[in-house]
């Protein structure tokens, strides 16, 4: 048995070689570099100076960093909450109603459009005075809403715009998971006379677990890195209402040239995300399969 394990290790290394090469070169090495820079005072345009944990101490006392975290969490909760539920609904509906790749293709269309353009189009459509959405609302007698401009609605608006872009994509991932569930399982449940809801709760959801876990980990981590939409619309405002963490890091790094501090903030963000991913994977037992 131990011999067999060792044999697997050699094969595994071979299979991992190309991906591992790319990982080390284009991800791990830059990440280590960033980690090192987080302990320095580095302005990008001059050599870094070692300052120890100073950047991390500064981050602890940085109220705007705290605010950025809060704003980002609000965004993630709305974005992921709405997106996951609606995507699951869409995937199940598609699975039950139609295998048409046309419908799936339609729903995937927004994903073909770059983030930045999606943001600009919605920014334009949602304007309080000239936007078509408010024009339609006014036809049915609703007063105009300054979706992006109001402190209270800006983050929910940005979250929903990104749901629009990623809905089809998320639904497609879940749909692929649904297709991997053997048809015989449903047939057995149907013969037992179980209701749709019970089949969903008792059969579909548990079998979908590995895929759902993956989707959640991917979308939550991606959601925390919200940047483009903010950068081309609200740019952090009004006041600090949409100054999400990644935008704050970007401002520090490339506008204020405080790259060392930005690196420290991104290490903190990295730690939060890694912790979150571990928790999600544990909770959803994503790694378990019937085979181990």
């Amino acid at each position: 048995m131990t011999a067999a394990r060792r044999g697997d290790l050699r094969v595994a290394l071979l299979f991992l070689l190309p991906a591992g090469f790319g990982f080390v070169l284009f991800y791990a090495w830059p990440a280590l570099q960033t980690f090192y820079l987080s302990f320095t005072d580095y302005s990008l345009l001059a050599a870094p100076n070692w300052v120890g944990a100073q950047n991390y101490r500064d981050a602890l006392g940085d109220a705007r960093f705290g605010n950025a975290l809060l704003v980002t969490v609000e965004y993630v909760v709305i974005n992921i909450g709405v997106q996951t539920v609606v995507a699951l609904l869409v995937a199940v509906l598609m699975h039950r109603l139609t295998k048409s790749s046309f419908v799936r293709g339609l729903l995937l269309l927004p994903y073909l459009i770059a983030n930045v353009v999606v943001a600009l189009v919605w920014y334009n459509m949602l304007d309080a005075q000239l936007g078509i959405v408010n024009a339609v609302l006014s036809w049915v007698g609703i007063d105009p809403v300054a979706f992006f401009g109001e402190t209270s609605t800006a983050i929910p608006t940005i979250a929903l715009v990104n749901v629009w872009r990623h809905l089809g994509y998320t639904a497609l991932l879940i749909f692929a998971g649904l297709q991997a569930i053997p048809r015989s399982v449903y047939e057995a449940a149907a013969i037992d006379g179980a209701s749709e809801w019970r089949i969903f709760r008792g059969v579909t959801l548990p079998l979908l677990r590995p895929v759902l876990a993956m989707v959640l980990v991917l979308t939550v981590v991606g959601s925390f890195q919200i940047f483009d939409t903010v950068a081309v619309t609200t740019r952090g405002g009004p006041v600090d209402a949409t100054r999400v963490i990644y935008f704050y890091i970007y401002e520090k790094a490339f506008q204020q040239f405080d790259f060392g501090y930005a690196a420290a903030l991104s290490v903190v963000l990295f730690a939060i995300l890694a912790g979150l991913a571990v928790a999600q994977l544990r909770l959803l037992r994503a790694g378990s399969s019937d085979l181990d």
């Binding site: 090469f21 302005s43 459509m125 309080a128 005075q129 000239l130």
Partner: protein, 448 residues
């Protein structure tokens, strides 16, 4: 197995070497007989391409490669290229970035070249050339163009309100009651029932046309095209001295009263709320759609304001303030040379050509911006006039001496990061103008 591992190991070594050289090592740029030049405004690309052609004719053997990137991409790409040492030999520089780049030794001082070739720097109006020198007196750019702020107005709305265009040349303003300027704004504001802002029964909750538009950009601590014309006309100044002041004056009552007055326009319904202004389209598009009768903006926006179908536009100078003078920020762009260029002589020749009357005149002919040299400005004035645009509202403050240089200081990005949200909070009534005293302390702490 060993063979397979050696390749990534060798590459990893290459990477560490690469990063070791990442701290802005010079030696980049393009080949020695080719000068790379960057700019961000596609509208000016044809004019500068023409300058490059005439330059190449005069300097056989040297070629100029002009590249253009949109505004946001421009600075991200430039910073990356500066770090990697592959930045362009010459690039269009902006005052937001110039102090940082100069302070980090990314720009080549021009003084030796200027002295050697006896290039005059006193030919520019109102100290424009001073913007591009650092505290130690070194020069990092030659001005290429300038801009000022004025008041765009919708001619038809003026006529409907019974206001003569000539009245706009003599507007007065003060932070207490807003003077004749606020009366005009009120007169031009119309609610959904057709009642004007200065008439009884005006419904400020249902405004169809706001007298004055509010810019969609966060003006941060400068408010260039938003509120600087009012604040500066009280006699207030941003800093103790300019350029290179080290103490800001956001705690001055004159400034805070101005911001209080500016916000009161929103409360009265004469100007849209901050939320509406920030909700999507630009202030110029709002003006083009007939949502605003007046809009203060910079000369760089002329072609946008005059480009709307069916909107007749005029421009007036900003109002005269309590100091007895009107005021506008006076600002501009320059061309800078990258320290890492491998062809300093060629780069300088190109910069000198860009600042020459020949090149600036050809830029003036395109009627896009105001060239910095007076003789080229005269050319631009004619070509703007040919397009039906009278630019005297923008150039008048130069002759009157009512221009104020853009505030040049260290820490500009950090100041924006403090003042942007602080001014937002005031304009959205989440804080009082008095709160700006505290923001001012934060700003001034940066200089200690």
């Amino acid at each position: 197995m060993h063979n397979k591992l050696s390749k990534p190991a060798a590459l990893a070594a290459a990477v560490s070497l690469a990063l070791a050289g990442c701290a802005g090592a010079p030696g980049g740029g393009s080949g020695s007989d080719e000068i790379t030049y960057w700019l961000w405004d596609a509208n000016q690309l044809p004019a500068y391409q023409a300058c490059a052609t005439s330059f190449q004719q005069a300097n056989p053997g040297t070629t100029v490669k002009v590249e253009q990137f949109g505004w946001a991409d421009y600075w991200n790409k430039l910073t990356t290229d500066l770090v990697a040492g592959t930045a362009p030999d010459v690039f269009t520089n902006h005052l937001n970035y110039f102090p940082t780049y100069a302070g980090k030794n990314q720009l080549l001082p021009l003084d030796e070249f200027v002295a050697r070739d006896a290039v005059p720097t006193d030919v520019y109006p109102n100290d424009l050339a001073d913007l591009w020198t650092t505290q130690d007196g070194k020069r990092y750019g030659l001005p290429k163009d300038f801009d000022t702020v004025a008041l765009f107005y919708n001619k038809k709305m003026l006529a409907e309100a019974g206001v003569a265009e000539s009245d706009l040349a003599n507007l007065t303003w003060n932070p207490q009651d807003g003077g004749t300027y606020e009366k005009l704004i009120a007169r031009l504001t119309v609610d959904a029932n057709g009642v004007r802002g200065d008439q009884p029964g005006f419904d400020k909750s249902k405004v169809a046309v706001h007298g004055l538009g509010l810019d969609e950009n966060n003006g941060a601590g400068v408010g260039q095209q938003m509120w600087s014309a009012y604040a500066l006309s009280t006699g207030w100044t941003y800093t103790d001295k300019n350029p290179w002041g080290s103490r800001f004056n956001y705690d001055d009552p004159r400034f805070q009263q101005t911001m209080g007055w500016f916000r009161s326009l929103i409360d009265k319904g004469y100007m849209p709320s901050l939320a509406v202004a920030r909700s999507g389209t630009s202030v110029n598009d709002g003006f083009g759609a007939g949502k605003y009768a007046l809009s203060t903006n910079g000369s760089w926006m002329i072609n946008s304001y005059f480009g709307y179908d069916g909107v007749e536009v005029g421009v007036a100078p900003t109002p005269t303030g309590p100091s007895g003078k009107r005021a506008t920020i006076f600002n501009g762009l320059a061309d800078s040379i990258y320290t890492g260029t491998d062809n300093r002589e060629g780069a300088w020749k190109w910069v000198k050509h860009l600042a020459s009357a020949e090149c600036q005149k050809s830029v003036g002919e395109k009627a896009v911006v105001f060239p910095a040299l007076p003789e080229a400005l005269a050319v631009a004035e004619k070509s703007f006039a040919a397009k039906g645009v009278d630019i005297t509202a923008f150039t008048k403050p130069l002759a009157e001496g009512s221009t104020h240089l853009f505030p040049i200081t260290d820490h500009a990005p950090e100041i924006s990061a403090v003042m942007g949200p602080a001014i937002d909070a005031v304009l959205s009534s989440q804080a009082d103008p008095g709160s700006l005293t505290q923001a001012n302390e934060q700003v001034n702490a940066l200089f200690r």
